[in-house]
């Protein structure tokens, strides 16, 4: 085990200027995710959730503030292979088979793909796609593609996992299944996870803490601790305390 890897965002601000209008995408966003924790980021469309995630990965520059992943700036942390990511859109390369798509991060990181064959096969099994190793993305359904993206996010054995609405395009049933799977994967790997979502129940089911955002300007208004015991079972979705927490978050979301 390497040194514990958390996420520390401090004072992130970003302003877009488009067509003469200034849009304050982020204002003074500070968030600390302790090593091994699961944090959900929830908020209305356009509140800057995805911008936070992209900034954490160094995909988007910020005007002010600092990002540290395992104590390092994002460019260093990502190039060192500490991070894994899955976006809302699977973003698979249509000419690569499922296994070769999953291997992509290894190639970018300059790691040996050949020695990871077994691991890739295990990941394919983990996301329930056994038998589809050589299928092309065009032959898969939307849900299957999304699962490939999850497997791809895990292939580099990341210490920090970023998930940007990875189940946003899935139907409710599949989404529940994937939530249960994700909890299991997270427990097994122990990776610090930041999940961007707009599903309240998803956030409560999975996270240790839910950071609620509001738009104009994009900011975190409250961080709510989720004190539900783990492992969390599917039956939790109908437990009263679960709904209390959901209602509380909904209250903060609509609060003002």
């Amino acid at each position: 085990m390497t040194a514990p890897a958390g996420i520390a965002l401090s004072g992130l601000s970003k302003t877009f200027t488009g067509r003469g209008k200034r849009i304050e995408a982020l204002r003074d966003v500070t968030l600390t995710c302790p090593p091994g924790s699961f944090t959900a980021l929830i908020g209305p469309s356009g509140c800057g959730k995805s911008t936070i995630l992209r900034a954490s990965l160094g995909l988007e520059p910020v005007d002010t503030g600092r990002v540290e992943i395992a104590g390092r700036p994002p460019a260093q942390a990502t190039a060192a292979g500490l991070t894994g990511v899955a976006f809302q859109d699977a973003g698979l390369l249509p000419w690569r088979s499922v296994s070769r798509n999953i291997a992509l991060p290894l190639e970018v990181l300059g790691r040996d793909v050949g020695s990871a064959t077994g691991r890739i096969r295990d990941l394919i099994t983990l996301v329930g796609l056994s038998g589809y190793e050589d299928a092309l993305p065009g032959e898969l359904s939307g849900g299957m593609r999304q699962r490939v993206a999850i497997a791809r996010a895990l292939v580099s054995e990341p210490r920090v996992l970023f998930l940007d609405e990875p189940f946003g395009a899935l139907d409710q049933i599949l989404r529940r299944q994937m939530n249960i799977e994700l909890q299991r994967i997270w427990a097994e790997t122990g990776a610090t996870t930041l999940l961007v979502t707009h599903g309240i129940d998803e956030a409560v089911f999975l996270a240790d803490r839910v950071a609620v955002m509001q738009a104009n300007p994009g900011r975190i208004v409250e961080v709510i601790e989720i004190d539900l015991p783990r492992p969390r079972e599917p039956s939790l979705f109908s437990a009263p305390h679960f709904h209390e927490l959901c209602d509380r978050i909904a209250g903060v979301l609509h609060g003002g």
Partner: protein, 516 residues
């Protein structure tokens, strides 16, 4: 079964009608022979063909390879360095618009043997493939690129892992469209050159003898070569792409790279570049001054030299003949194409039958078509007009019809869902949706219209710029050969830019970006 019948019936009927009309000499007193007559003549002439076909194939094949290699390389450079792309824009537009027939004489006078044919074939494929490469490399899936960048991948990694392979379908379709151009270029160079072998030389040699069945045979052979080259790449791209095509890519492409305004200096450089290149090529190849006119040489010939007023007068007279008919033919061809494509929305069966026919004509080399039209229509002005109309009509029709086909079903069905009639739906959705395609077609067919007119003038009517070029070639009037070449290229560029300007104007007013 019924579907098969419906698919095969129209072409079979067409062939049958052709056969009957040809056998009975119904069209222009025998100018259109029956297919069986053409084929039997082909069989009689079979000893002639191998030498001609292989000469044309060799030149167009070599030109195709060289031109495409340069085009892919240039596309890559333009994508990596936008400034270079801006600087080369003038050269690119000139290469795209230049009527090959205008520079064929220059090439045959300054280069030896097969080289002119190869150069013209390469020039014919360059722009199409270059553009396809740029498009393919620019419109990549931004999400996939994000994934690469999220693991610390830089521009190089994104290019290597996402963009290059992602551009392959676009480049292959570029090859497919470019292949018939290579054949056309090689044949046009054969017209201007003195070589014995090649389908163009064969065609030219047979033109005076008034044997329709042989001319049709040569035309058929040329079309077949061009069509086969198109088909070969169609098959290759289908094989290579297979299932990988069916995944819809992220339609929100990456942001337009570093748009911004062109600095005036770069704009000036883009205009100057073609002239500089012209000068440099002459200098590097050590073309004798008498043969190779520099930009200054052409200026001198037109404005300063002793015979300048006469030269100007002849040029203007030729222009006065060529320009009106080019514009009229283009306008008629475009109007016809637009009307037919839009009306096709109301009668989908018509589009289903006619579109494939129109697509096939795209592979028919213009030069092979011209003598046939001459046979059918005689040597008057009518033939020029018809050639111009046909070279603008078919590509424009294909483009607009395919453009309309891309309108999302939901958008088409929305007015219907509110009980709108076919006409109203046409006015509300189809017409506005097809307008951008009309303008794109106008821009892309303008150079072809001029080429069509010049070929007709050269081969048939003995008027205008085409004829002036052909005459000057006979008299070895190098000053005039260069002048006509330069003027026709500039005219072509001007037509293109005018079309682009109108397109921008209308589209901006309508709030739609012009399609590059």
């Amino acid at each position: 079964m019924a579907g098969d019948l419906r698919r095969w019936l129209p072409p079979v009927l067409l062939l049958l009608a052709w056969e009957v009309a040809g056998r009975l000499d119904l069209v222009a007193s025998g100018a259109l022979p029956a297919l069986s007559e053409i084929l039997s003549r082909l069989w009689q002439d079979r000893a002639d063909y191998p030498a001609h076909v292989s000469a044309t194939l060799a030149a167009s094949g070599l030109g195709f390879v060289i031109g495409n290699a340069l085009a892919v390389l240039a596309g890559l450079i333009f994508v990596l360095s936008p400034v270079t792309e801006r600087l080369a824009r003038g050269v690119n537009i000139a290469i795209f618009t230049l009527p090959p027939i205008a520079i064929a004489p220059i090439l045959t006078l300054t280069l030896d043997g097969m080289t002119p044919r190869i150069v013209l074939a390469a020039l014919g494929v360059y722009f199409v493939t270059m553009q396809a490469t740029v498009t393919g490399l620019t419109q990549y899936d931004s999400r996939a690129a994000d994934v690469v960048r999220a693991y610390g991948g830089g521009r190089g990694a994104v290019l290597r892992l996402v963009r290059v392979r992602g551009a392959v379908p676009a480049i292959l379709s570029g090859f497919r469209v470019a292949a018939p151009n290579a054949v056309l270029g090689a044949i046009l160079a054969e017209f201007g050159g003195g070589g014995r072998f090649g389908l163009g030389a064969y065609l030219l040699g047979s033109l005076g003898r008034g044997e329709p069945d042989r001319l049709w045979g040569i035309g058929l052979a040329a079309t077949l070569i061009a069509g086969l080259s198109y088909a070969v790449f169609a098959v290759i791209s289908r094989r290579m792409l297979g299932a990988s095509l069916s995944l819809s890519l992220n339609p929100a492409g990456p942001e337009a790279e570093a748009g911004g305004r062109m600095s005036p200096l770069i704009g000036l450089g883009a205009v100057a570049m073609p002239f500089v290149l012209w000068w440099v090529i002459l200098w590097v190849m050590r073309v004798p001054e008498m043969l190779g006119k520099t930009p200054w040489g052409v200026f001198d010939y037109l404005f300063l030299a002793e015979g300048a007023p006469v030269a100007r007068e002849r040029l203007l007279a030729a222009l006065a003949e060529t320009l009106p008919i080019t514009l009229a033919g283009m306008a008629a061809g475009l109007a016809f194409a637009f009307g037919l494509a839009v009306a096709g929305r109301l009668t989908p069966t018509f589009t289903r039958v006619f579109l494939p026919v129109a697509i096939v004509t795209q592979t028919m080399p213009l030069v092979a078509l011209t003598p046939l039209l001459v046979l059918l229509l005689g040597r008057g002005t009518a033939v020029t007009l018809w050639i111009t109309i046909s070279v603008t009509f078919f590509p424009a029709y294909v483009m607009i019809a395919q453009g309309i086909a891309q309108v999302p079903r939901a958008a088409l069905e929305l007015p219907r869902a509110y009980g709108a009639s076919g006409w109203r739906e046409l006015r509300l959705v189809t017409l506005p949706a097809s307008l951008p395609w009309l303008f794109a077609a106008m821009r892309l067919t303008a150079p072809r219209a001029l080429l069509g007119v010049m070929i007709a003038e050269w081969l048939a009517t003995g008027r205008g710029l085409g004829n002036l070029l052909n005459q000057s070639r006979g008299y070895l009037d190098f000053g005039m050969i260069w002048t006509v070449a330069v003027v026709s290229v500039m005219l072509s560029v001007a037509l293109y830019l005018a079309a682009l300007w109108i397109e921008r104007l209308v589209m901006t007013r309508k709030g739609i970006g012009a399609m590059e």
